[in-house]
């Protein structure tokens, strides 16, 4: 097991992503952040906090649980559902930034796009990711990436966040992909 990102590197990456989001969207006025539980939701909260500090604003932030939209439900035992909390302004006409911890096959993001489509019609949908580990199975790419970490399929990537795991770090280990 080796550390791919330290706590400080994670903080720097999130700060950079926050700036990139603001730059690309000409400020914070039309953006809505949606984190994908569990860890994507915590990352969304952090990014929202950074953006709010930079822009002195209150950017809408919510969560989008995509479990019920997954296409691989039949391959594993049913998972407990996490909350989907859409900000009161909704998503119609907004620039929605989906936020997740790791981008791998792209299937989670496909499910998230499906779920989002049920909720409304955003002006645009962008994707922010802390770690992009490659091996895409669908034509999906991230707009904002914390770090590209080339991995083999058999390796596993663990993103630990202080909110739930006690400390911030990204670890790579050999063995079963999770």
């Amino acid at each position: 097991m080796s550390a791919a990102l330290s706590a400080a590197e994670i903080t720097r990456a999130l700060t950079r992503i926050s700036h990139e989001i603001l730059e690309k969207n000409n400020g914070s006025s039309n953006i809505t952040l949606l984190g994908i539980p569990t860890r994507g939701a915590h990352l969304a909260t952090r990014i929202a906090k950074i953006i709010n500090e930079i822009e002195s604003c209150d950017v809408p932030v919510g969560t989008l649980d995509i479990t019920l939209h997954r296409d691989d439900l039949r391959t594993r035992p049913p998972k407990a559902l996490m909350p989907t909390l859409i900000p009161s302004a909704g998503v119609d006409g907004r620039d929605v930034i989906l936020i997740d911890d790791v981008l791998f096959s792209g299937r989670t993001i496909r499910a998230a796009l499906d779920a989002l489509g049920e909720i409304g019609r955003p002006k645009s949908v962008q994707l922010a990711i802390l770690v992009d580990r490659g091996h895409r199975e669908l034509p999906i790419r991230a707009d904002f990436v914390g770090k590209n970490i080339p991995t083999s399929r058999t390796q596993s990537v663990a993103v630990n966040l202080s909110e739930i795991d006690g400390q911030d770090e990204v670890l790579i280990s050999d063995g079963e992909a999770n």
Binding site: L68, R76, P77, K79, L81, T84, G90
Partner: protein, 316 residues
């Protein structure tokens, strides 16, 4: 879990998982995501060998919101009413490729027979069998109680819940006794001795014949339907006497704790076990029980059907 036949098949954690999942299902249904693709391509059969419009519609709505294909197979006009055996019905459903059968039946144990037989391989969900159990009703009742009487999560420890009336013939009562006590609630059965099952002393409940003394201590009171024909079977002298001692009327309701709720699984006999003013009062959550029913049944269908098929008899 492969089937939902009895509350006794559930662990406390599994029961809480169902309730927690139902919260998210309710959130999805209340919000913009009315329709979820989760069970797309699955075939669910509503096998209602006994009439029950409300339970059938509730399960049907739940299945459809999860995008399952629903086939309704009712008693009237179907082969069931022509004396087809449970076995032949099951073989037919198997041949049609049913992934799950939601069964309502007048015979206690019919869902167990369906699940344990080699007649079909799909999941079996008990939607009420004879005087045995009605697990989805108990889960929606627990969901409703948890929402009103707790901070919203976890179990029901410390709550006092009364179940009043014809416990003997009530599948709702049997499932609720099991589930509410599993979740840590203190259950009191309130009924004339004729309407309590033999050996009820061995159940994890208190027994009372005195509604008035227990009612003020309760957080939730669940009124059971009393069927008119019970009178002719000598269970109580007449409706007037039953209502006098075991009916919930306005005067009794006024003795209840401030935040306590009144429940009824429906259909109600207004004027017999519950008066109209109580049923329609602010304490009554009877209509909400119905809407919670859809969310709870979505949770049940999701947890039973969405995941990987488990080994026969295996529990996940």
């Amino acid at each position: 879990m492969r089937h939902l036949l009895s509350i006794s098949d559930l662990s406390k954690d599994e029961a809480i998982l169902i309730l927690d999942t139902a919260i998210e299902m309710a959130r999805a249904s209340d919000g913009p995501m009315k329709k979820l693709p989760t069970l797309r391509g699955r075939t669910i059969v509503n096998l209602f060998a006994e009439d029950s419009t409300r339970t059938r519609i509730s399960f049907e709505a739940a299945a459809k919101r999860l995008s399952a294909d629903v086939i309704n197979f009712g008693a009237k006009g179907s082969s069931l009413s022509k004396g087809e055996s449970l076995k032949d019905t099951a073989l037919t459903l198997q041949a049609m490729g049913a992934d799950a059968v939601i069964i309502r039946h007048s015979a206690s144990g019919a869902p167990v027979r369906l699940a344990d037989s080699a007649w079909m391989t799909g999941s079996v969900i008990n939607a009420g069998d004879g005087t045995h159990e009605h697990p989805s009703q108990a889960l929606l009742d627990a969901f409703t109680i948890r929402k009103h009487c707790t901070k919203g999560g976890g179990d029901l420890a410390g709550l006092r819940i009364g179940i009043v009336g014809d416990v003997l013939h009530s599948r709702v009562a049997r499932s609720n006794v099991l589930l509410l006590s599993l979740l840590g609630a203190h259950v009191t059965l309130i009924a004339p001795p004729t309407l309590l099952p033999f050996g009820v002393e061995s159940w994890p409940v208190d027994i009372s014949y005195d509604f008035d003394s227990v009612l003020p201590t309760l957080d939730a009171v669940m009124m059971l339907r009393v069927q008119q024909e019970r009178m002719s079977d000598l269970f109580f002298p007449n409706a007037r006497e039953y209502s006098r001692y075991f009916g919930l009327n306005r005067d009794r309701m006024l003795t209840m704790k401030s935040n306590s709720i009144v429940m009824h699984p429906g259909p109600m006999n207004r004027g017999l076990e519950i008066t109209a003013d109580v049923a329609d009062s602010a304490r009554s959550v009877i209509v909400e029980q119905v809407s919670n029913g859809v969310s709870v049944r979505m949770a049940i269908l999701y947890l039973l059907l969405a995941g990987a098929p488990t080994e026969i008899g295996g529990n996940v």
